[in-house]
């Protein structure tokens, strides 16, 4: 059946599009923002703001 052959091509094409979208955005992001900003995430921010752990 022809339909499934077309669907196979569509799946290849969509996969390439999704992959390309991520790669392009990755490149844009890494060239726009400094590494210092991108890797500034620190664990435990919410706890530092809200918890003193005094029961």
């Amino acid at each position: 059946m022809q339909t499934w052959n077309y669907l196979e091509y569509a799946a290849w094409g969509l996969s390439a599009l999704f992959g390309l979208a991520m790669l392009v955005d990755w490149f844009r992001t890494d060239t726009t923002y400094s590494e210092d900003v991108l890797t500034s995430s620190r664990e435990g921010e919410l706890e530092a703001m809200t918890e003193e752990h005094k029961v």
Partner: protein, 479 residues
Amino acid sequence: MAQTNIGSKTMDGMGPKGTKVGLLRVLGPAHVWALGVGIVLVGEYMGWNFAVGKGGAYAALIACWFAGILYTCVAMIDSEVTSTVAAAGGQYTQAKHIVGPLMAFNVGLYLVFAYTMLEAGNAITAGYLVSVVAGMSGHEGALDQRPFIILVIMSLAWLNYRGVLATLTFNLIITAIAFVAILVLFVATTGIVGASIMQHGALMEGAAALPYGWIGILAAMHFGLWFYLGIEGTTQAAEEVRSPARALPFGTLAGIMTLLIAATLTWYVCVGVLPWEFLGDGVNGSVAPLFDTARLSGSTGLVWLLGIGTLFATLASANGCINDASRAWFSMGRDKYLPGWFGAVHPTYRTPYRAIIFLVPIALIFALGAPLDQVITFSILSGLLGYTFMPLNIIMFRRKWPLNSIKRGYEHPFHPVPAIVLLSLCAITFFAVFLGYGTQLVAMIGFYIVVSLWFHFWRYRFVSRGAQFTMPWPKPKGY
């Protein structure tokens, strides 16, 4: 610190420790439920039935309930620790704070392997399902499954890349549909609405009751895990829920209750319709037992519903696995257990985008180049190693920080009984796995020993030793 407004739109995800771009806190308990149940529910649709092949229908039920106890202990222990150590990385972060760096490194790798392998297994399954649909619709010749396998991984990775709220809302919808499909099948085939098609008496009498005796029950434990494997993944959402102390225990415990119901109903409807020899052969017999039960019901509506449920459960599992593996990888990068480059957060989408992209080719290699049973076995073994860590973790947690020394979002009851039960059931399951997959078990443990040596003698020098302990807790008791 006291003046910081945690509801602020401009400060969301950023705080006093210098975070300029952090993960976004937007999730609620329903998303946590969707993450945990979404990863697991595919095990109800396919895979659990290998337990029937190992020991018959009764053995599968006993394995289902024993594994249910194991995972209830996992859910309770996880709920207590993660509602207190509320950071991405889940059990990795727990191990880091409570046990030590070498344990944390190993647990982090267990998580990444378990979820990435499961993601690959789900993609293979989705490709297979598409080929079945093609065959049923009259397609002649073999369909090339590769583009559909790749499409599943790429599209879900893209969804994860674009934001956690959309990712887990999508999971919530498709997981809810897959769960409701099981309920509808139960109601429609057991005589609650319309005529019953159940034949438990005829299918489970005589030699069919316990065809391999008690050893069959032990062997079935390996696949009994499939009913619940992955519920511990709820902990990876810890840094992205609005209220960790409320949402994590609520979502995780609601998740395990949902799975106990779904697992028991699945067993009941399938063994009441399908002979154990056919049901227990997940390769040449019943690949998707719930779907096969729907087909035998003679209802076109049920066939469609369970077919959609099977596909949705597979996609939900792959989606949740991408979410969880990337959070574990991201957390290890952030603490320099892995190169710090992986600890980056996307400034717009607020996701660990480099970790998501990095794991895509790994999932593709396993999905396209490894057989399904091997991929799933490595996932189960990594998961099992993680469960063995949990009882030790909770015992040390309660000793170092007893009740009333720090705030806990949830305190699990009857400690240390759940820890002891979990450790005992893990030992039994290791033996069961050794019976069927001894070589893989030894190879897997050998692999973790080698990477532990690498971590100890080389990688540990790069770890941010001071910065990794972030919880504002008092010193542990006895220190």
